[in-house]
Symmetry: C2
Subunit: 233 residues, 2 copies
DNA sequence: TTATATGTATGACAGATGTCATAAGTTGAT
DNA sequence: ATCAACTTATGACATCTGTCATACATATAA
């Protein structure tokens, strides 16, 4: 099978995973990966992986939005980050542990591309260029997450909220007008503050004409001020 | 040169980096790495790497303690984590960027083992087993750091302080009695709270007979309570 | 040595944040 | 359609945390 016919099985445009495979693998390896990869659709709030489950597949987010989160006994929930299309979502745990240390949940209807972890392992061990490239991409992802986490930790309530709103506007939707894919409670769990205070701060941003809110719809009206708040607030 | 004579040049007991090399590399590669590796000593408060500098060497902490930290314009300092002997301290940035995104500073007199990054690159690309093992270890390190950061983010002031004291006692010094290698200000920068409140909380821990303090010397008197506070406080 | 900065400690106070209560809107299941 | 559960919203209040001031101790440099 030549690369052209393999493309029929791995036909997603802009797929980073495909780019990774196609730039390093031989035709027969490519054919194998493309034929065994699975796509799985998830509805909003569907649990994709529960912390503690065995790492069997390598996950890649094709469409939708997924939250990576930690659950401490019962109610105490923390969101590590929110992944967007073309993000690797198997990041932590996958090489260092045989079990997931965090959970993944779809925030909106999402499509995940899965490849058997053993295949990835074998390819990485047999093809060093591939393995090195994979490592580079994964370490870039987790670097970003850690730096984002440190930034959120540094900021006060309004700064955290502004930072998160800007993440949606600039990094996820590329628009000043978007539908919030999360509840106020989830924003709070990401920011690390109480739900009520997120609601209050949203109201204040509205009163200060920084944003417009109608339900889940958010429009950023004063980007400059919001950026200032996300930096120093 | 056989492995026995190479050991003379790479003679550190318990060196994780050596273990990594010896389990994957051929004698000639080993000899090369062991001959070009450099050891560099740093005094307390010496800056090892400043954020923004080029990534040239792979760093491994042989002796001492090193803080990984971020500096925002002037005074605003954040400690990402504190590395202990046998930890990889080149973790973030090293594969995803050609420049460091964080700084490293010795907290106590420390010895760092450095290996030219190009050599590590070449070995990882030419020897997939080695590369994969390296990746596993690095991803384990950064996983731990991210989970530690999330834990600190979750806790209140006293919980953060208890968590940090327990890190010193259980993970760094393996003793209930130890000399603090950091100032109160640095504890605050790690916890993400004000210096005054760290000092106050330390005083309260002392009044509550959880710890004994004399200057930099700390003794944990009530481990059980401190563990409780580090979990739920 | 003195002098200067830095670190530790504590009190007072203001401001930020969390908790609790309440109410209305929204969603989802039956 | 109806009910229950969740979400959003707001006020009141307690508590936590940060800031400022002050004092003393300790380290560092001239």
């Amino acid at each position: 099978m030549d690369n052209a016919s393999i493309e029929l099985k791995c036909q997603c445009v802009n797929c980073q995973l495909k780019a990774l495979f196609f730039s390093h693998l031989e035709s027969d390896e490519l054919a194998r990966v493309c034929s065994i990869r699975k796509e799985h659709g998830y509805a909003s709030n569907d649990l994709i992986v529960r912390a503690g489950e065995e790492v069997e597949d390598f996950f890649y987010l094709k469409e939708g939005l997924v939250k990576l989160h930690l659950s401490k006994d019962g109610d105490d929930e923390q969101i590590i980050t929110i992944a967007k299309p073309l993000d690797f979502i198997s990041i932590l745990s996958i090489f260092s542990s045989d079990r997931y240390k965090y959970s993944m949940t779809a925030l909106v209807p999402s499509v995940v591309c899965q490849v058997d972890m053993n295949i990835i392992h074998k390819l990485a061990v047999s093809n060093a260029e591939f393995g090195f490239d994979l490592m580079k991409r994964l370490s870039a992802s987790i670097d970003d997450i850690l730096l984002e986490t440190m930034e959120l930790k540094r900021l006060h309530l309004k700064g955290k909220l502004a930072f998160i709103l800007l993440k949606f506007a600039e990094h996820i939707y590329h628009s000043n007008l978007f539908e919030l894919p999360v509840t106020r409670k989830e924003i709070a769990e990401f920011a690390g503050v109480s739900t009520e205070n997120i609601i209050r701060a949203l109201s204040e941003f509205r009163k200060d004409k920084l944003i417009r809110i109608s339900g889940k719809e958010i429009e950023i009206l004063n980007m400059k001020s919001l950026v200032q708040i996300a930096k120093f607030g």
